[in-house]
């Protein structure tokens, strides 16, 4: 487990993802990262504004940044695992520098690579919120519990970003099974963003 505040509650990814999705009423875009973050996003129910990233570990945040730059009026969320974020930490500096107002990153921190056999990540002594703040994302916060997570999501929707919310989570696997059809996932997403019309 990364070095979060000691009074931070251990929550559950699927539960937090449902809480997030329940708050999305204005076609906000959500990018699910590799494995469990997109499985739980899938399980939270179909939304045309969801993009399920299947195989490119660490790229949920960069993809979300690209969507945010293309559509500055649309709020965009990235859902990323702690192991995945570690693989692409540099992207936090890019996000801090470009400072898109409409981007929020949610890091599901279980301290392990759950999906590959729950091996601990090398970030045992690291604090993801401190890393993000150190990269220049000033609005970086640990969610103390589920209510605090919801409050932070409300704040992300109401105030200018970029924002990073980190949540300590348990070691449970994701609950959904995303359909592995990358071209269809991409096309549906583009339709959901109003870029394409169905043929």
């Amino acid at each position: 487990m990364s070095a979060a505040l000691s009074n931070t509650k251990i929550m559950n990814r699927a539960d937090l993802t449902c809480r997030l999705v329940a708050k999305l009423k204005h076609e906000e875009a959500v990018i699910g990262g590799i494995g469990n973050t997109n499985f739980d996003l899938w399980a939270a129910g179909p939304r045309p504004q969801n993009f399920y990233m299947l195989g490119s570990m660490g790229l949920a945040c960069p993809i979300a940044l690209g969507v945010a730059l293309a559509q500055p009026q649309r709020p965009v969320f990235a859902l990323e695992g702690d192991g995945s974020l570690l693989m692409q930490l540099g992207c936090l500096t890019t996000i801090a520098t470009l400072a898109p107002k409409n981007l929020a990153i949610i890091v599901m921190d279980n301290g392990i690579y759950q999906i590959t056999g729950s091996q601990p990540t090398p970030a045992r002594h690291a604090d993801i919120v401190a890393i993000a703040a150190g990269c220049g994302i000033a609005a970086s916060h640990w969610a103390a519990d589920e209510e605090d997570f919801e409050r932070l999501v409300d704040a992300a929707l109401a105030t200018a970003g970029p924002v990073l919310i980190a949540a300590r989570i348990d070691d449970k696997p994701g609950v959904g099974a995303t359909r592995r059809d990358p071209a269809q996932i991409r096309e549906r997403f583009m339709q959901g963003l109003g870029v394409r019309q169905p043929i």
Binding site: A29, G55, P62, I63, G66, Q88, L89, G194
Partner: protein, 182 residues
């Protein structure tokens, strides 16, 4: 959309970088992340000087591919600038994201490692580039001549968008002068 920067450039004979910039503009390629290469400096500078472009450095080339993928899906076109070593970091993201999701990723690669390279490591890295492109059946062109450059860049961008397929535009030292042993 002509700007002051365009007017300033057209005063002298256009160089390879002017031609690429112009082709980008004509094809609405406005978002240009990069990891720099010495040879690319005049192109990068030209992009920074022109308000039409949103251009910025990323920490890794892979990250820039993610950004351009998201931007494409959101309706905004872009291109990635890098050197040969940068391309060598990309097979995973090309094979796992760009090709299966049918993203028309435009890559401009400054070719290091050949025609007078002085760094043995660079020359070996360079030899991995075309085999990777061929293994993924990706379109690529090596640009050696100024008089063919505009046609190649312009048509390649249009084809990438029309066919939803990536393309690599390799800038040979024959075109750019490359980097010489100091």
């Amino acid at each position: 959309m002509a700007t002051e920067a365009d007017a300033a450039r057209s005063a002298s004979t256009p160089g390879w970088h002017d031609i690429i910039l112009r082709s980008f503009k004509r094809n609405e390629i406005g978002l240009v992340p990069y990891v720099p290469d010495r040879v690319l400096t005049p192109l990068i500078q030209g992009l920074h000087d022109d308000p039409f472009f949103t251009t910025f450095a990323t920490a890794r080339e892979e990250e820039a591919v993610g950004i351009l993928t998201g931007a494409w899906m959101g309706g905004r076109r872009g291109a990635l600038l890098m050197q040969t070593s940068g391309f060598a970091t990309l097979p995973n993201v090309l094979a796992s994201l760009v090709v299966p999701c049918q993203i028309p990723l435009i890559m401009v690669v400054s070719e290091r490692g050949t025609l007078g390279e002085f760094n043995y490591g660079q020359s070996l890295v360079c030899r991995t580039m075309r085999p990777v492109l061929d293994a993924l059946a990706m379109e690529h062109h090596t640009m050696t001549r100024l008089d063919e450059l505009e046609f190649t860049v312009d048509r390649s961008i249009k084809q990438a968008v029309a066919t939803q397929a990536p393309v690599a535009l390799i800038l040979s030292p024959l075109l750019t002068g490359g980097k010489v042993f100091a």
